[in-house]
């Protein structure tokens, strides 16, 4: 609401009508000011001419009769205008809403409007869920919403909600259809570890020979001298104590994820018939869980501090493969494939010194477990 101080300036937005009393006084003051200005423009002195007799010079706020407080004045204005604020934006209420609100009877509503109106109870049925993982059946339920076939929010009903084109059917596509992932991951890792000078096909031939030898090997027996050297099988003593964990379908659930190297569900006696499982089980059993990092100078007196560092599944397997290849080179057979295969069989039967190497790493890791925090962080405390 324009205040009385703006009376000197021309009023552009005359959206209200002030009280007649105030208006008269304002008009008188405007006339007075205009005569004063006109006399100045006509070249008279710049000196202030005295006011005509009978009237003293008044300031901007002095001509107005302040019979009321500003807030009272505001309240009076509001009463005139009504309690609802004016619709300054210019958007009118839709007629349908007005009719609905006022409860106008149906015979008064034009037919065209009646045709466009939606039956009560329909309207925005769109789910405002922002979760990206929606199950298929809820999508189906949402798409079958209204009885007269109006599906709100689905401009492209062939596609799922929020999509313009239907998503491709990926149920028939498997990992093997990807050209660069077409081999078993463990087999691929071992093959590339065997490869020399970039001769991949030769390494693959050797790998195939290794798997053939594993196939014709007898089932691996437990070594009674070293009962701790067991394979990662679901029927072995170590696995029976742990509770079986279900495969984790929902990545958001609080259920802990299963281990990277799960125990093989095949019985020990049938391992040679599944040479890839035999290989995977052996490598995962012999793989160390940690590596020992030596941090220089932290142990005091210039000595380095051993810090155990956890390894991921691929790192563990790589370490196991390196140990296996080193142990294989110590054997007397001429062919590489025979050496590696017989080393694997020895490890599976618990007779290999590679187990001792793994045990050493784990023992050192356990004894140095308190150093885990020492290596972390940037600045070293002095």
């Amino acid at each position: 609401m324009p205040s009385p101080s703006c009376l000197l300036r021309p009023v552009r937005q005359a959206a209200f009508r002030p009280r007649p009393q105030v208006l008269k006084r304002k008009l008188a003051l405007i006339a007075q000011t205009q005569t004063r200005l006109a006399s100045n423009v006509s070249g008279n002195d710049q000196k202030f001419t005295p006011a005509p007799p009978g009237e003293e010079p008044k300031g901007p706020n002095e001509g107005v009769s302040h019979s009321m407080h500003v807030t009272e004045e505001q309240a009076a204005y509001d009463k005139i205008q009504g309690d609802t604020p004016p619709d300054i934006d210019g958007q009118g209420t839709p007629v349908q809403e007005v009719l609905q609100r006022d409860g106008v009877s149906e015979d008064k509503i034009p037919q065209v409007m009646k045709d466009d109106m939606q039956p009560p109870g329909s309207g925005q049925k769109r789910s405002y869920s922002t979760s990206a993982r929606r199950l298929a059946h809820t999508d189906m339920a949402q798409s079958q919403i209204s009885e007269n076939g109006m599906v709100v929010g689905m401009e492209y009903p062939d596609a799922g909600p929020g999509h313009k084109f239907p998503l491709p059917d990926v149920s028939s596509v498997s990992r093997l259809d990807h050209l660069k992932r077409r081999y078993d991951p463990v087999v691929e890792q071992v093959t590339k570890s065997i490869m020399r000078d970039g001769k991949l096909s030769l390494a693959q031939k050797n790998m195939s020979t290794i798997l053939s030898i594993l196939r014709t090997a007898p089932p691996p027996q437990l070594n009674p001298a070293f009962p701790g050297r067991t394979l990662l099988l679901s029927d072995s003593a170590s696995a029976s104590t742990s509770t079986p964990q279900p495969p984790n379908q929902n990545p958001f659930s609080p259920v802990p994820t299963p281990p990277d190297a799960p125990p093989t569900h095949l019985p020990r006696s049938t391992l040679p018939l599944h040479p890839i499982e035999y290989l995977t089980t052996t490598i995962d059993s012999i793989a160390p869980l940690v590596k020992i990092r030596q941090q220089k100078g932290l142990a005091g007196g210039g000595a380095s501090l051993p810090i155990p560092v956890p390894l991921g599944i691929r790192q563990r397997r790589r370490q196991a493969i390196q140990w296996i290849l080193a142990a294989a080179d110590a054997r007397k057979e001429v062919k590489l494939a025979e050496r590696v295969a017989k080393t694997l069989v020895e490890i599976a039967e618990g007779r290999s010194p590679v187990w001792e190497r793994r045990g050493m790493v784990h023992r050192l890791g356990v004894s140095a477990r308190s150093n885990v925090r020492s290596g972390r962080g940037g600045m070293r405390r002095r």
Binding site: D184, V187, S208, S212, R215, T216, P258, D260
Partner: protein, 402 residues
């Protein structure tokens, strides 16, 4: 193995037969034995044919030595890995089971690559115009050794009946095995001892009551003998394979040149090899022509195979092998039939190597993938390992075939 109802089933070999085959060097590393504990072979339609031929030879033999003796002559061809060497092994097994004497040449390549000693053979009088022939003593010794040890049971019961010259007769060998071992142990004597042993086995004494057993001659890789060798004469001229006495002897027998035949009956089976083989256009053309003639295609037909007009002249020594009097039959080994391939895959499945269910669609798939049932390819497919079974893991393994 001779039973027609057994086509498509995999039959195990008997223990004594396995020992004999091993002594004869019939087992090769290219024959898919290494995945199985005991050697077994698939009985094919061609196996039944060989068994029938052996039976025919047995039936034709009369009461006295050499009476009614027939010599069967076969050349077996086929694609790579179509089962030719195994076919030869099956023929040898059948011969051993029928108490025949088996002479095996496991690898013809040894005779032509100049890795064995060779000596000029004495030319006979009146043969000045003919080629200089050569002996290969070590190869003759190896031949005698295989013969002696693989046929030990039969040869110890046969006594020498011919005269072979002082050097050999003075040793007074009690039986044919001892005779053969003279040459096996003494390399210099080997060519003469070979001639003597061969004469004992294939030249009967007319009217003798004691019958000698028929002889099976098995030759693997005969296309190596159809061209020039890596040997050179004293004039530094290349020696042709047919100038070697052993090679010439076997080829004369195979293509019935001269009077060469098995006097006590028997069979000569030669098998070609398609892996690492020499280029022998003349031999290949003649094989095609023989097969065309067998199929009934006349020489005047437009579809009769003719040589390339603009190629080099074919090897004359090879060209004259298939003369009109030859009775050598050429067999081509093709792919397996569906029942045979099913039997083979079932064998692999029962051995625990093939992990899929052996249904008709699976058999059809493997049959197609192996190029129409080529045995070697089908064995590779049956023994294949691909992806393992993966439960869970960061590499999202998928359960596929093992």
């Amino acid at each position: 193995m001779a039973d027609a109802a057994k086509v498509g089933s995999v039959l195990a070999l008997d223990g004594p037969v396995i020992d004999q085959l091993r002594e004869a060097k019939a087992f090769k590393t290219t024959q898919n034995w290494n995945l199985f504990r005991a050697p077994s072979t698939l009985a094919r339609a061609e196996t039944i044919e060989v068994a029938a031929d052996i039976q025919d030879v047995n039936d034709s033999l009369g009461d006295t030595a050499g009476l009614g003796a027939t010599t069967m002559r076969r050349v077996v061809t086929g694609e790579k890995a179509s089962g030719k060497s195994i076919h030869l092994l099956q023929a040898m097994s059948l011969a051993y089971l029928n108490k025949w004497v088996v002479v095996n040449v496991p690898d013809c390549q040894e005779y032509v690559i100049n890795q064995s000693a060779y000596t000029p053979a004495a030319t006979k009088e009146g043969d000045q115009s003919k080629d200089q022939m050569y002996n290969q003593p070590q190869l003759a010794a190896d031949l005698l050794s295989r013969l002696a040890y693989s046929n030990a049971d039969i040869l110890t019961k046969l006594k020498p009946i011919h005269k072979h010259g002082d050097r050999i007769d003075s040793r007074k060998s009690k039986n044919l095995k001892d005779l053969a071992l003279i040459g096996a142990e003494d390399r210099i004597m080997a060519p003469r001892v070979w001639d003597a042993t061969w004469k004992e086995l294939t030249v009967p004494v007319e009217g003798a009551k004691e019958k000698r057993p028929p002889v099976m001659v098995a030759i693997d890789g005969v296309n190596f003998w159809m061209g020039e060798t890596r040997y050179r004469s004293s004039d530094y001229k290349v020696i042709h394979a047919h100038q070697f006495t052993l090679v010439k002897q076997f080829l004369d027998l195979l293509f019935s040149r001269g009077q060469n035949s098995l006097g006590n009956g028997g069979m000569v089976m030669a098998v070609t090899t398609k892996s690492n083989h020499p280029i022998t256009p003349a031999f290949e053309l003649l094989v095609r022509q023989t097969r065309a003639r067998q199929d009934g295609v006349e020489m005047t037909d437009s579809s009769f195979p003719l040589g390339d007009q603009y190629a080099k002249m074919p090897d004359p020594r090879v060209a004259e092998l298939f003369h009109p009097d030859t009775q050598t039959a050429v067999t081509e080994l093709k792919g397996l039939s569906r029942p045979e391939s099913k039997g083979l895959l079932e064998y692999f499945a029962k051995s625990g190597i093939f992990r899929e269910a052996v249904t008709d669609s699976e058999v059809a798939e493997k049959w197609s993938l192996s190029g129409g049932g080529i045995v070697g390819e089908m064995c590779k497919l049956g023994a294949r390992t691909r992806v393992g079974i993966y439960a869970t893991g960061p590499r999202e393994g998928v359960k596929v075939r093992v």
